[in-house]
Each structure stands twice: as structure tokens, then as C-alpha cells.
């Protein structure tokens, strides 16, 4: 707890310095956040290139907008929100792109015998059916572990909207898992 508190204190100092235009402080924040943001963006967008662009844009927007962030303690939540907005923008871009070829990694192990490998293709298929805002909620709830009030706060959504979107998203994923299992994944999969 003490370590976490110290990290928070350090982050707050960095945010405040960056708000005053200290670019080196911003670089530390950006480096510290980059991989996490990239993971979130990849999960939401299902596309490495678009995720890279979304992270890049989110970090640039954060630099520009830092002086307007009132509470430095809320930097992470604020950055997540910027990222979600950028993912939405990128998803729109994606709709204009041609088909996307996704290589499925057959080599991923199933070390704990949890059935993850068996779930993967079904979840992937179900996840791709979700709208971008539903994906966002699923990722932030089940990857970042945000509570429902935190989701509502971070995304500026009414609690009822958060609950209903999440409910329908999870039902879609449940349906995908319960669908008849098809033969194992092919080497490539085309998606629109």
C-alpha cells in the first residue's frame, strides 16, 4: 500500500509538472502508460496498426489537454477516456478500409488446461460482433477491472447505459461460446 501511495504521489508530481509544460515529465508518463494503452486499444480495435494510431493520438491529445485536467489524481481515468475516444475514431476509419486479414496464432499454449484455447475462437468471433462501445465496456470491465461506477465515471455514461450495454455484450459473447463448435481455427481469417 505504501508503495502504491508513493507511486501515486510520483505520478501526481509528474502530471503537475507536465501540466506546467515539462515535456520530460510528460515523456515519463507516456512511457509508463504506453504498453497498457496499447493493450487496451488492441483489445478494443482488434487491429495492431489502428491500435498504434489510437495510442499515438491519445497521447498527443493528452499532452495538448493536460493543462485543462483539473484533478491530477484522475490522470489515468482521463487518459483512458481519451484513448476510448481515439479508438472510436479509429474504428470509423477501419470501416473504410478493405478487408482485414488476421493471422490466428495456433501456437498459443493452454498451460492451465482452462479451455482457453477452445474458447478463443468463439470469443473472438463473438467479440467482433460487438459494437465498439460494447467492446470498450467489456475491455474496461474485465481487463482493467473497473467497477460499474468507475466505468460510468470514466466514460461519462449513465449507470443504466453501462449496465445495459454490458449486459447485451456479455449475452453476445455467451451466445458465441454456446454456438456449435466448428473445426479448429484456420491459418487466416477474413473479416470485413
Amino acid at each position: 500500500m505504501a508503495v502504491q501511495s508513493m507511486e501515486r504521489s510520483v505520478q501526481r508530481d509528474l502530471v503537475e509538472a507536465a501540466q506546467r509544460g515539462d515535456h520530460e515529465a510528460f515523456e515519463v508518463l507516456a512511457i509508463g502508460s504506453a504498453d497498457r494503452l496499447f493493450a487496451i486499444a488492441r483489445l478494443i480495435l482488434r487491429d495492431v496498426d489502428l491500435a498504434q494510431d489510437a495510442v499515438q493520438e491519445a497521447l498527443i491529445r493528452s499532452w495538448r489537454g493536460l493543462p485543462s485536467l483539473r484533478d491530477p489524481e484522475r490522470f489515468d481515468a482521463w487518459l483512458h477516456r481519451l484513448l476510448v475516444n481515439c479508438c472510436t475514431d479509429q474504428a470509423r476509419t477501419r470501416q473504410r478500409l478493405a478487408a482485414n486479414v488476421r493471422v490466428i496464432d495456433d501456437r498459443l499454449p493452454d498451460p492451465d488446461g482452462s479451455g482457453l484455447a477452445a474458447d478463443r475462437d468463439q470469443l473472438e468471433r463473438g467479440f467482433r460482433r460487438l459494437r465498439i462501445e460494447q467492446r470498450t465496456l467489456v475491455v474496461m470491465r474485465y481487463y482493467l477491472g473497473l467497477s460499474l461506477p468507475e466505468l460510468a465515471d470514466t466514460l461519462s455514461l449513465p449507470m443504466g447505459t453501462v449496465k445495459s450495454r454490458l449486459h447485451y455484450a456479455m449475452e453476445t459473447l455467451r451466445a458465441a461460446l454456446e454456438a456449435d463448435l466448428r473445426p479448429g481455427p484456420s491459418a487466416t481469417e477474413k473479416t470485413a
Binding site: I60, R64, D119
Partner: protein, 361 residues
């Protein structure tokens, strides 16, 4: 309930397994480099307070000209800084090209720009859903193939000039190449699939880029065959076709977008001019503005800018605008006297982009 928990756990495990991978270093490098050249958004008053510099030398010679423009200029500047927030980068600048820059009192008449590019196109070069001209300067290392990612959507028109080094190109569509020292009328055409080498001072123009046919590869193949290359470019872009500008291998110096009413210029032909200025330490540039859109990018050093009225009245300059950190442009009423001071400790280098009706040139 157990069923729901099981589903949540499976989703959570799947997301964890999918969230592997790190953001590539080049993306982070580009991001950090770009933010260095991006001003932060601040309330105007806060910005002014932070820049106030008492005791600046007065500039009576300028103050005697156009004092009546002070109020208008201030209003325009406020509107302009608000515009920066929306556009993410730019002040909109104007310079009267029919009136060459007048040296400031502190600056003997040694300051002349180097004209890098002067091209005229029919106004059809501005697309219906025009969003701006992206003005950029990039460096590419030796033996680098220049590629783009899937999220890159090429501009409608791409005008590039090699400042140093060489670039080998193999375009997907007819490309005009204007060799150094030649005029636009003397342009060569490199056809689709043909190969050409462009060197210092050479300009190549890809108009009506066939992005629908070739996607991210619409600009064709490009690579640096032997040495590092530095290129500046004007990318004329359309709404909804903006994209990530960074790409593997690129070492960006800066890029900024000029909007500011280009699409409203009532002219059959439009002239695009790029000039390079070198402003020694302690020197000033002074000139009288027109209303055509323009943009300055600071490539090296540190400058501030102000109207003559501001300077004479001890008012705050705009800036400082530093190398790789800033661009300044101002949208002004005509015939406003403006001063740019080098306030750094090295020669300031500025690139200036102007767009104006060809008829006034």
C-alpha cells in the same frame, strides 16, 4: 449466477491472453517527438500571463504605422488562439508577398528568404471536403524503404521536395518531377511503374493520388538509396481521409496543418509558396501582412512574434515558439505590421508556407 461468473472469468482470461505485445518503440518515439512540437492548450489569459516580458525594447518605427489596427489585431489573435485549441496546432499567418519583408530597426537589410517552392495549380486542387494543407518536414535514414501502415490514407495531392539526400521513387500513377532550378512548365513526368531518382531541390507532385485503387500503397514505392534524406511536403487533405502520419523509418521534425480559409480564396488558380528564413540571434523580421493564409514553422531556435502596436505599447508577444516545439501563424487584417524576434541563443530557422490567389502574385 455461477454461470455468469464462469462467463466473466472466461472473458477475463481471454482478454488477458490477448493483451500481449508492447507498443513499438518507433511509435512511442514518434509520439514523443510530435508532442515536442505541439503547444499545450491553455486559457488565453493564462498564456499571456506566462509570457509577459516587461522591459522589452520599444519599436517606434513600427508603432507609427497602423496604430488603428491594434484592436482588430488583438481580437484576431484571441480568435486565433482559440482556433489552435480546435485545430491542435496552428496560428494562421499572412504575409504580403507583394511587399517584401521590411527589415526591423535592429536588423539591417540582410534578411532575405530562400524560396524553396513556388507552384501554381488550378483551384480544383482543393477538394470539396477540404480540411487543410499538412505542411511537414521529415528525415529518412540511409537505405530506408518508406512504407505506410493500413491506417494511412494518402492525401488527394502530395507535393514533396527533397532538401538533402536522395529518394528513389516508383509511383503508381503519373508523377510530375520538377528538377532543381527548373520551372513548373518544365516538369518531367514519371509514369506509373517507372523509376526515378530525385535529389536536392527536386520537387515531385502526385496529384489525384489513386488511393481508392491502391490504398496505403497509393504513393508507390520509395526508398533512400544511399544517404539520409530530408524532405518537406505539402499534403492537401480531404475530410474523413486524415490518418496517422507517422510510419516506420520516418524521423519527423514537425508537421502542422494550415487551414485558415484556403477554400474560400476566390481565384481560378492558387499559388503555393514555401520559403526558408534564417534569423540570427537578436535579429528581428518585420513585415506588413495581407489576408492570404500562411503558416510558419520554427525548425530551429526560438522566436516570439507580435504586432508593431503591441511592441510599441510594451504588450506581450506571442510565443515563445521553439524549434521542434512550435509553429506560429497569425490570421490578420491586411496591412498590419508584425515583428518576429529571435529571442534564443542560436540562429532561428523558419519555414513559411503561403497560399494565395495566383492573380495577386
Amino acid at each position: 449466477m455461477n454461470d455468469q461468473i464462469d462467463l466473466e472469468q472466461r472473458v477475463s482470461r481471454w482478454l488477458e491472453s490477448e493483451a500481449r505485445g508492447e507498443l513499438p518503440d518507433w511509435v512511442l518515439d514518434e509520439t514523443v517527438a510530435q508532442t515536442r512540437s505541439e503547444p499545450q492548450q491553455m486559457p488565453f489569459r493564462t498564456r499571456l500571463r506566462s509570457l509577459r516580458r516587461p522591459g522589452r525594447p520599444s519599436r517606434e518605427p513600427h508603432a507609427q504605422r497602423g496604430m488603428t489596427m491594434f484592436t482588430t489585431m488583438r481580437a484576431a489573435a484571441v480568435a486565433l488562439l482559440i482556433g489552435i485549441v480546435g485545430l491542435g496546432a496552428a496560428l494562421v499567418a499572412t504575409v504580403d508577398r507583394s511587399s517584401p519583408p521590411v527589415p526591423a530597426a535592429e536588423s539591417p537589410a540582410t534578411l532575405e528568404p530562400v524560396e524553396l517552392l513556388d507552384l501554381t495549380f488550378d483551384s480544383g486542387i482543393i477538394p470539396e471536403e477540404f480540411v487543410g494543407v499538412l505542411f511537414s518536414r521529415k528525415a529518412y535514414p540511409t537505405d530506408q524503404e518508406i512504407t505506410y501502415t493500413d491506417s494511412f490514407l494518402p492525401p488527394n495531392t502530395f507535393i514533396r521536395q527533397v532538401e538533402s539526400g536522395e529518394l528513389r521513387i516508383r509511383p503508381n500513377d503519373d508523377t510530375q518531377v520538377i528538377r532543381a532550378g527548373k520551372t513548373q512548365a518544365e516538369a518531367e513526368v514519371v509514369g506509373a511503374g517507372e523509376e526515378a531518382v530525385v535529389g536536392p531541390g527536386d520537387t515531385f507532385i502526385q496529384r489525384d493520388v489513386p488511393w481508392a485503387e491502391f490504398g496505403k500503397d497509393a504513393l508507390g514505392e520509395m526508398w533512400t538509396p544511399g544517404e539520409d534524406a530530408v524532405i518537406f511536403s505539402l499534403a492537401i487533405r480531404e475530410q474523413d481521409r486524415c490518418c496517422a502520419m507517422s510510419h516506420p523509418g520516418m524521423r519527423s521534425r514537425w508537421y502542422h496543418t494550415l487551414t485558415g480559409g484556403i477554400e474560400d480564396l476566390a481565384a481560378e488558380d492558387l499559388r503555393f509558396v514555401v520559403q526558408r528564413w534564417e534569423l540570427p540571434v537578436g535579429e528581428s523580421l518585420a513585415y506588413t501582412t495581407e489576408t492570404t493564409p500562411g503558416l510558419w514553422a520554427v525548425d530551429a531556435g526560438e522566436v516570439v512574434a507580435m504586432t508593431a502596436e503591441d511592441a510599441a505599447g510594451g504588450q506581450t508577444p506571442f510565443g515563445p515558439f521553439r524549434a521542434d516545439t512550435a509553429i506560429w501563424v497569425m490570421s490578420q487584417e491586411p496591412a498590419t505590421d508584425v515583428v518576429v524576434d529571435n529571442v534564443g541563443d542560436e540562429t532561428a530557422i523558419l519555414y513559411q508556407l503561403l497560399v494565395e490567389p495566383a492573380a495577386t502574385a
